[in-house]
């Protein structure tokens, strides 16, 4: 049966080019790295506490870090071997986190705890999902078990599976859709079960027609799962934009998708959930697109979490040009890395290495008030005025321009003819507003 829904067009957005040259490269599994570094914080929320000490022997899938805080996800060893160090490392954003460094023994022995979870009801399913260590694999890294338990009183009627993959270069989700479509459908059904959602839409951008056709052919027997083709336009995969495109619902300012009855999960996340419920193997490996002008042989690679970036690039033939910028994630929202010793994380979906020409940004010049940032903003903000106020140090003024609603997609900076650091100044404004709020809070107590 052929079904269609009306796809709403979200406001603004840009076409940053496709660059998905790795799309047809089947995922290859990378051999064991020489060491893994597994940070205790690979999610939004409270960091885990290491459960192992230097010298301990660990096994594949063994829990090596956990937290008793509500918003957290445990971390597991991706190798069998010996813990060589438990020490703080510094993330590219300057944050210091504890990390467990393990030297693999090459045996890849499974830990005894790895067994298909015994799930009888919603509660046990949620508990198993938490134990799996899964976080939102779209890039944000929010603990999935928390997202699947909306606050009491909120009901979810629509589940959205995000296969938009709107960032240029990245094709790891596309590979997941082509290589594991049955797990994506199965995981979708499981999440529908957990959330009692009556309807699920799998949204995929129309530049991935093969994935749309394949997934569609697999849901012909179910009336409540629909694969929907979305226009390729960045940021189509932004949560609020995607919800609007597929349901016409707008997530109110400061609220969550569950406030409009929607839950969004990434294709890779639901695929993992289905696989985990079958095998019990926690999140220890990740599909990663390795691409960029400095990479000799771009590939889609299945990497063990904790693998140093340098070893992933070596596996892809090393660098064919001097790398000047290394990005974890896409070029629009990814994080530039400061060292090749940084490890691959749970939510890493791409590693890009750009040469000098692609890494340099044009010099900032004066704002000519052309309004292109205003037209491009998918959140209807006025980036030029936020920037103006940040430059002048008037941070409280930026609140009037709804700076906290910014999703930091980067469309404004991308289109700015003066190359102004628009979204970058939004981040400064948000941080300063948090400080101001903290000071006010402190004054009261």
């Amino acid at each position: 049966m052929f079904k269609t829904i009306t796809v709403m067009k979200f406001r603004g957005g840009i076409d940053p080019g496709n660059h998905k040259d790795t799309a047809e490269l089947e995922t290859v599994r990378m051999p064991l790295p020489s060491r893994v570094i597994i940070p205790m914080l690979q999610h939004v929320g409270a960091p885990c506490v290491p459960l192992v000490r230097k010298g301990d022997r660990v096994f594949v899938g063994q829990k090596i870090g956990d937290s008793d805080r509500p918003i957290s996800a445990p971390v597991h060893s991706s190798v069998s071997g010996t813990v060589t160090d438990v020490r703080p490392i510094v993330y590219s954003n300057g944050m210091e986190v504890m990390a467990v460094e393990i030297k693999p023994d090459g045996l890849q022995e499974l830990h005894e705890s790895v067994a298909p979870p015994d799930c009888t009801d919603r509660e046990s399913m949620l508990k198993a999902i938490r134990e799996s260590g899964i976080v939102g694999l779209g890039g944000a890294g929010f603990p999935t078990s928390v997202k699947l338990s909306p606050p009491p009183g909120k009901t979810i009627d629509i589940l959205i599976i995000n296969g938009a993959e709107c960032e240029p270069f990245i094709t790891s989700d596309y590979r997941e859709m082509m290589e594991n479509p049955q797990y994506i459908i199965e995981g979708t059904k499981k999440v529908m079960e957990i959330t009692s959602a009556g309807k699920a839409y799998i949204g995929v951008e129309d530049n991935k027609q093969d994935a749309i056709d394949l997934l569609s052919s697999m849901v012909t027997d179910s009336d409540n799962i629909e694969v929907v083709s979305l226009p390729a336009r960045y940021p189509q995969g932004g949560e609020k934009q995607l919800i609007y495109a597929l349901t016409g619902r707008k997530v109110p300012t400061g609220k969550l998708p569950s406030d409009v009855g929607v839950l969004v999960q990434n294709v890779a996340t639901v695929s993992f959930i289905a696989q985990y419920l079958k095998t019990g193997l926690p999140l220890i490996r990740k599909k990663v697109t390795v691409d960029g002008s400095a990479v000799a042989n771009p590939k889609n690679v299945e990497v063990l979490i904790g693998t140093p970036l340098g070893e992933v690039f070596d596996f892809c033939g090393g660098f064919c040009d001097e790398p000047r910028k290394i990005i974890m994630g896409g070029p629009m929202m990814g994080v530039s890395q400061h060292s090749l010793d940084d490890p691959v994380l749970k939510q890493t979906n791409a590693l890009l290495a750009f040469n000098e020409r692609d890494a340099e940004k044009p010099k900032e010049s004066v704002c000519i008030r052309c309004g292109k940032c205003v037209a491009a903003c998918p959140m209807s903000l006025l980036p030029l005025y936020i920037n103006l106020n940040v430059v002048r140090g008037k941070f409280e003024e930026t609140a009037k321009y709804h700076v906290t609603d910014c999703i930091e997609c980067g469309c404004c900076s991308y289109v700015c003819p003066a190359s102004r650091n628009l979204v970058q100044s939004v981040r400064i404004a948000k941080a300063e507003l948090r400080k101001i709020a903290a000071r006010k809070q402190g004054g009261k107590n």
Binding site: P168, G371, D405
Partner: protein, 320 residues
């Protein structure tokens, strides 16, 4: 391999737009009107265009040198100002006056307020206003197109003089092609519209401001501009006469001095159209486009201030 990595906040890629490319597009869009002005007003027009452009660029260069600022002439904005100012001058104007006007536009109106992006009124229009005040007769003496420099009146002046003069009005087609008296760049609506289409296609400008501006003038002059009561006005003449097409597409849309939001631009367009019609129909001057734009320039900061849009999801209620 020893590597040194650049760190930086995303996004890590950028589109190909830059200020110079935008200004170059505006210059290209002004070329058809420049060519038609030379066809109709010959050497005089060519001379004025050359003098104002050179004067604007030289003033910009000199100012940057003297104040030790980075040389700004490569952004091409001074060329745009020069062209627009030349388009607003009568063909018989002595070139030295045009040169002073160009320097005034760049130094007094633009650079003294901080340069590109910081001036609060349109430099070319403010310079024109300054020149009308300084040399009122030279700035308002018109001639017929051609080599002979026969003095004439503009269509708006003829209309201002009342219905008995109406038979002197040029044919509408001559007004569209530009075969009439007036400022050198404003007479050919056709050439200007070709340029305007280019600007829209290249996404340099959007249509909401020019269309509301022209629409408001059309509506108001049709309603109130006739001598035989309401809705008898000659709106087609009002649309194609004078500097309306030039002003609406090329001057009111100046980035620095127009609002950045869709709604703001509509307010500016209606405001410009309203003021233009009032000046043309009831004011002392036959033409009101440049003063209406200048007046609306002044309220642009206020418009932007009060037109902050609701963010996506703002004012939407959650399910309870």
């Amino acid at each position: 391999m020893k590597i040194s990595l650049l760190a930086g906040s995303s996004p890590h890629i950028k589109g190909g737009e830059n200020t110079q490319k935008i200004m170059r597009d505006v210059i290209i869009a002004l070329l058809p009107a420049a060519v038609s002005s030379v066809i109709y007003f010959k050497v005089q027009a060519a001379m004025l265009i050359l003098v104002t452009v050179v004067s604007c660029v030289a003033a910009e260069y000199a100012w940057c040198k003297i104040t030790k600022k980075e040389n700004a002439i490569t952004d091409l904005s001074a060329v745009v100002t020069g062209l627009l100012l030349a388009f607003n001058l009568p063909p018989s104007l002595p070139p030295w006056m045009a040169a002073i006007g160009g320097a005034f536009a760049v130094i007094i109106v633009k650079q003294l307020f901080g340069g590109l992006g910081h001036n609060f009124v349109n430099p070319a229009l403010a310079a024109r206003a300054f020149m009308v005040a300084s040399w009122p007769s030279q700035m308002t003496s018109w001639q017929e197109p051609g080599w002979d420099a026969v003095s004439t009146a503009t269509p708006l002046e003829i209309m201002k003089n009342g219905s008995e003069a109406a038979e002197q009005l040029p044919k509408l087609w001559d007004m569209i092609t530009g075969n009439i008296g007036g400022c050198i760049g404003e007479t050919s609506a056709l050439a200007l519209l070709i340029g305007a289409v280019y600007l829209v296609v290249r996404k340099v400008i959007t249509l909401e401001l020019p269309l509301t501006f022209i629409g408001t003038v059309g509506l108001m002059t049709w309603m109130l501009g006739g001598s035989e009561g309401l809705f008898t006005g000659n709106f087609a003449y009002h649309i194609f006469a004078g500097g309306l097409i030039l002003g609406a597409f090329f001057m009111a849309t100046d980035y620095t001095t127009s609002p950045v939001t869709f709604k703001g631009r509509i307010i500016m367009g209606i405001g410009c159209g309203f003021l233009t019609s009032i000046i043309r129909l009831y004011g002392g001057y036959p033409e009101g486009v440049s003063y209406s734009i200048l007046l609306m320039n002044l309220v642009v900061p206020v418009i932007d201030r009060y037109m902050i849009p609701k963010s996506f999801g703002g004012g939407v209620a959650a399910n309870e």
